[in-house]
């Protein structure tokens, strides 16, 4: 009997193609919207986390002045900047530190190969590559002599190389920064956009002394980049780092810190928290479309209720049992809902894949949201497909037959 009823239900779906299609459509739109939104949201969260880890894991960024927000913390008037010696002191006196790089930065326009490009120039030591997880695509890092002498050598980021040298590698070429020319000795491997949207590859790296003497003309170090050894206690390390810097900057007992320590780990947590809120929000918006789809289904079912009531009356009159009719309509409703759910999942998978590619975020399959929206769509289908039929099947057959 079950097989027979299944057959009846499928036959009925095939017979009422337009009605079936519209029912399915509502579910398809709802399910695919929810899954796509949530999947992309998760992808974006993942992308943010990956970009932060590309900044360097276990990285502390120490800047002068009070923190003004995530990633901010500018100089401020009258606050002394760091010196190169601070970096040496940290490396020598604090345990658990893997590398310390003093970093100075300036905005410049670089000229080479007949083109110019506005970028930033970063002055630092070879430790900078370790703290920032940088790899060289080609060329070499600085020699000790070049670092101490402030030689006219530079390593360019991928963006700068592309803008200035185009298709060629750029190694050995001359690049003019402000009033001096330097030789390109290396090219950084690309890291792509950072979490805040700025292009990390858009920079030129020179030895710190080169920057100080030939570009900025002072001894300032804007940032100290401190990478911690794996497994070191970041809380204790930060505390001793703070203590050391307070001493070196001659702060009295009651004075506030005139520098701040930014932990990329914390930054990662804050930012991924934000994207998770966004994901939830997008999911909620998409859930509304699932609901609207459900209302669409309800409309279709109500419009066809007269025809269906008569059909039920006829089936009862020619000898169908109430439960046979109910089972048929239940199977019909579940089949349509399940079909809609499956098609929705397929569309969502394709759409997520395409959009993830366009947006540059990874595609992450989330079984929970797929299952959840599938179950929800099935529930809607059953609710709106089955219950009107149940009302009709409980009528006297003759009453149902005469339904206007």
């Amino acid at each position: 009997m079950l097989l027979n009823t299944l057959f009846l239900a499928l036959r009925s779906i095939r017979r009422n193609l337009l009605r079936s299609f519209l029912t399915i459509l509502g579910i398809v739109i709802g399910v695919s919207a929810v899954i796509t939104m949530v999947t992309l949201g998760h992808g974006a969260t993942q992308a943010v986390q990956m970009q932060i880890s590309s900044l360097g894991t276990n990285l502390l960024m120490v800047r002068p002045g009070q923190r003004q927000g995530p990633g901010g913390g500018g100089g401020g008037v009258g606050i002394p900047s760091f010196k190169e010696a601070d970096a040496d002191a940290i490396e020598a006196q604090i345990g658990g530190v893997a590398a310390v790089a003093p970093e100075g930065r300036a905005s410049v326009t670089v000229v080479g190969n007949g083109r110019n490009w506005a970028t930033s120039v970063t002055g630092s030591s070879n430790a900078w590559f370790a703290t920032g997880n940088w790899k060289l695509a080609s060329g070499r890092t600085f020699t000790d002599d070049e670092q101490s002498a402030g030689a006219a050598v530079c390593i360019v980021g991928e963006t700068v190389r592309r803008e200035i040298y185009g298709a060629t590698r750029g190694l050995g070429e001359q690049l003019r920064i402000k009033q001096f020319s330097c030789e390109v000795i290396g090219v950084l491997a690309s890291k792509g956009q950072a979490a805040m949207g700025n292009d990390q590859d858009d920079t030129v790296v020179v030895p710190l002394h080169t920057l100080q003497r030939r570009v900025t003309g002072n001894q300032k170090v804007n940032t100290l980049l401190v990478s911690m050894e794996d497994g070191s206690d970041s809380t204790r390390l930060k505390a001793s780092l703070r203590q050391l810097l307070r001493e070196r900057r001659k702060l009295a007992e009651g004075d506030d810190d005139n520098f701040n320590v930014l932990d990329t780990q914390q930054l990662a947590e804050t930012l991924s928290g934000t994207t998770q809120v966004m994901t939830t929000l997008l999911g909620a918006v998409a859930a509304v479309s699932l609901l609207v789809g459900g209302i669409g289904i309800m409309n279709i079912m109500l419009v066809s209720v007269t025809e269906r009531t008569r059909e039920i009356g006829l089936r009862l009159a020619i000898g169908a049992l109430e439960r046979e009719v109910l089972l048929q309509f239940l199977i019909e409703a579940v089949t349509l809902a399940a079909l809609g759910g499956l098609v929705g999942i397929v569309i969502a998978t394709v759409a997520s894949f395409v959009f993830a590619d366009v947006m540059g975020v990874p595609y992450l399959f989330d079984p929970t949201i797929n299952l959840l929206s599938f179950v929800f769509s099935a529930a809607i289908g059953v609710l709106f497909g089955y219950f009107p039929a149940r009302r009709a099947a409980r009528l006297d057959p003759i009453e149902a037959l005469r339904h206007e």
């Binding site: 009159a317 020619i318 000898g319 003759i398």
Partner: protein, 252 residues
């Protein structure tokens, strides 16, 4: 002409049907006694509101009497549950309605097969029986047509094929010609008479058209929820050629 137990096929005793209660109380049937033996062709007539349709619904086990007894082949129908009545309908009864009540967008073949589905017949047997039934109503070759592609007369013939595909003991026809013109009506009546004469199927038909009732061999007239008259039709229509002109004249 009686069943083994000595009872007629159908026996109504003191059957009443009351709708509503209090001021809205409506007595549709006020004590009906009726015996129908197997093989009869009965036309039930009467003005609208006379209770003939209510009687038909009770006879068809679609409705239950408020009081009184309904014995079908000796079984007390008034005591049966909804499901038991459904099983009785699918086993012994075939229905023809005024409005045809075919499933839309469904081929004639599938419409006729429908009652067999609920009897759990195999696909091969359903198919063969439905094709046979369609041929016997003169619709061989029309199996794949949907109701929208058939004329009213053809639709009613599909409905008759659906009623007889289960080889029922009784066919109940409620105003089967009510939606058809005279010519199609006659074709339907010839079919019903053939079922009765050639296949021995008991036919109960509600109609308000004397021309159509003339095909039956027994005429039962309802007035105000009671049987006013119940008599054999002295001159049942036996040949269309002989009666067609006279009937046409009577209709106009």
């Amino acid at each position: 002409m009686s069943t083994a137990a000595g009872l007629p096929l159908i026996r109504l005793r003191g059957v009443t049907k009351v709708y509503g209660s209090g001021q809205a109380r409506l007595t549709a049937l006020a004590g009906v006694d009726l015996d129908v033996v197997a093989g009869e062709f009965v036309a039930i007539m009467g003005p609208s509101g006379s209770g003939k349709s209510t009687a038909m619904n009770i006879l068809g086990c679609l409705d239950t009497p408020s009081s009184g007894q309904y014995l079908f082949q000796g079984a007390h129908v008034e005591t049966l549950s909804r499901d038991q009545r459904a099983r009785l309908r699918r086993r012994y009864l075939g229905f023809v309605f005024q409005g045809f009540n075919l499933l839309a967008r469904t081929s004639a073949q599938e419409n006729v097969e429908l009652p067999l589905l609920y009897r759990g017949e195999t696909a091969a047997r359903r198919h063969a029986a439905a094709a046979r039934a369609l041929r016997s109503v003169g619709l061989g070759g029309w199996e794949d047509h949907t109701p929208a592609e058939l004329s009213g007369g053809q639709q009613q013939r599909v409905a008759i094929a659906r009623a007889i595909v289960t080889e029922p003991a009784v066919v109940l026809a409620d105003e089967p010609t009510g939606n058809l013109d005279t010519q199609r009506s006659r074709e339907i009546m010839v079919l019903l008479r053939g079922l009765n004469l050639d296949h021995g199927i008991t036919v109960l038909m509600v109609t308000h058209e004397p021309d159509m009732a003339a095909y039956a061999r027994r005429l039962v007239r309802f007035v105000d929820g009671r049987i006013e008259s119940d008599a054999a039709n002295p001159h049942p229509v036996v040949s269309d050629e002989a009666t067609a002109p006279a009937a046409t004249a009577g209709a106009t």
